[in-house]
Symmetry: C2
Subunit: 324 residues, 2 copies
């Protein structure tokens, strides 16, 4: 293999720098440049390119597809920020906050079209398969977002419903990226299924860990603790607690974020006291382990030599913030 996680990221960033947009209309394209240059970890294109490399394909030829998934990801952020009324994104004002809803809407639409324009550079012989995977992945992300919004007004959400939602909202873009990479490298259908499994489970582990860190994360990491609790979000932790709690506790879980007599710190402490009573933290950690193990196991079953999967395994560990 010619690349590792760092060199592949550099290759991708330099391709991204060369991505051209027209200069006018300015209000359409300036927000796109702003959004694309706003940093981000480029997880999806890196996973796509690592997947190409693992299966012995040409990483250079796969760059347009990698651009497509990254442009798509940034499109979802523009539109999500409209729906969530979010003023900040990656520590900067969101496009929505900076230019307003109409600009974020139309610039987002244009980014979705740009993503497909990148995809059109995929070699003709692979284009149909890749286009189908991309469309299915993209539709799943929208479905996930809709379920997530549905949950806000739904009284109860089951763990199964929640997993089905994040499988779409978080995992689909990772698994789609990995599958596109494998497809471009000419992997077998069986290997494509396995790399799909790898990325799906990894995405679930990642999202569950995200939920966990929001309530139990290390303050040193700079992330504010308890944001989900203050929003009354139905996270995996909340859903587990709801499942086990008494009738009275369920009422507390459902309404604390609306309670005007409590400070933020008191709200967080109150909800976490119920989480702690039912050992929700440990249960979530176990679930993360199960998903992460399944992801790595899926890698081991690929038909390629073990050492070819080492960068994918490293990607998975990096994503989860693990050394080994």
């Amino acid at each position: 293999m010619k690349y590792n996680n760092d060199t592949i990221l550099r290759l991708f960033e330099s391709a991204l720098d060369q991505l051209q947009t027209p200069e006018e209309p300015e209000l359409l394209y300036t927000p796109i440049i702003y959004s694309m240059s706003g940093g981000g970890k480029r997880l999806r294109p890196v996973l796509l390119l690592l997947s190409v490399d693992a299966f012995g394909g040409s990483v250079e030829e796969a760059v347009p597809a990698a651009l497509a998934v990254e442009v798509f990801h940034n499109f979802t952020l523009l539109h999500d920020d409209i729906m969530d009324n979010a003023s900040m994104r990656r520590g900067k004002p969101s496009v929505f906050a900076k230019w307003g809803g109409n600009v974020a809407l139309l610039s987002g639409d244009t980014m979705l079209i740009m993503a497909y324009k990148c995809l059109a550079r995929v070699k003709s012989e692979n284009l149909q398969r890749v286009l189908n995977i991309f469309c299915d992945m993209a539709a799943e992300v929208c479905e996930g977002q809709q379920y997530d919004m549905d949950f806000e007004t739904q009284t109860t959400v089951s763990a199964e419903e929640y997993i089905a939602m994040i499988e779409r909202k978080t995992s689909a873009l990772l698994s789609g990226s990995a599958m596109i990479g494998a497809t471009l490298a000419g992997a077998s259908d069986d290997d494509i299924k396995k790399i799909y499994r790898f990325a799906t489970e990894l995405g679930l582990a990642f999202q569950l860990q995200d939920d966990l860190l929001d309530s139990y994360g290390d303050e040193c990491l700079g992330k504010k603790i308890g944001g989900d609790i203050l929003e009354g979000k139905k996270t995996f932790l909340m859903i587990q607690a709801m499942r086990m709690a008494t009738h009275e506790e369920r009422e507390v879980l459902a309404t604390t974020h609306l309670n005007k007599q409590l400070s933020d710190a008191e709200k967080i402490a109150l909800v976490k006291s119920i989480y702690d009573k039912y050992d929700v933290k440990r249960y979530t950690e176990q679930q993360i382990e199960v998903r992460f193990d399944r992801a790595l196991l899926a890698l081991d079953t690929l038909s390629i030599a073990g050492e070819r999967t080492q960068h994918l395994a490293e990607f998975a560990r990096n994503l989860m913030g693990r050394k080994k």
Copy 2:
């Protein structure tokens, strides 16, 4: 040729009836079905299929591409209605009014993805070219919408700027459809350029006529007269009047729609009195003729036999509401 305008519309409608969407999430897909079954003249898919037929291609095989342009067109309506705050569409409540902005946004996104999913059914040998035409066309439509919104806050808009805007907002989807049809039928690059010219000029003639009818249309047609004037829209008529008017008249043109002391009828009469003074109606009619003639002329220069273009010419006349 196997089809005429009527039979091709029926073929398309029956394909549209068979277009499948998942059942869930309901709030994502119900608005899509509502939007797609809301009628409309199916102009773009019909033009695409007529173009295929004119060049001797397989109309049946082109149906997925025709579905793609129609789904795309309906996607633009969903998002335009958000941007324009529009409560009605084709005589029914808009998706925006019925389900709210977030639903219209996300269902619209999903329709754009669905359009590409339809396109993925195009034969592999044509897919790359068709995908490129489609993406360029789609981006132009967004650019046109942005220019149109820019004009609202721009003090002056030149006739050239206006034509450049409607070339994108109105013509691009027609010309893109015609080009995709010709491409699928294996037309030469030269013929594809000419059919692009045909549809572009036709789109311009159509939009200028739309502007004209809004101020001078026949009340019998059931369309309310003067809507553009009451909105203060910078239509082709307004731009021409502005160009020729005195300083005082320009002030009247620019501010009448905001004047709270006038009734709607008085506002319309006042603006039209300035239009009439400068013969704006006749000038616009002439421009429509010029564009329509150019469209038909472009058809005559195609390399195919004259009788093969008869249905395209009929399409053009129907679009303009003309008998001959």
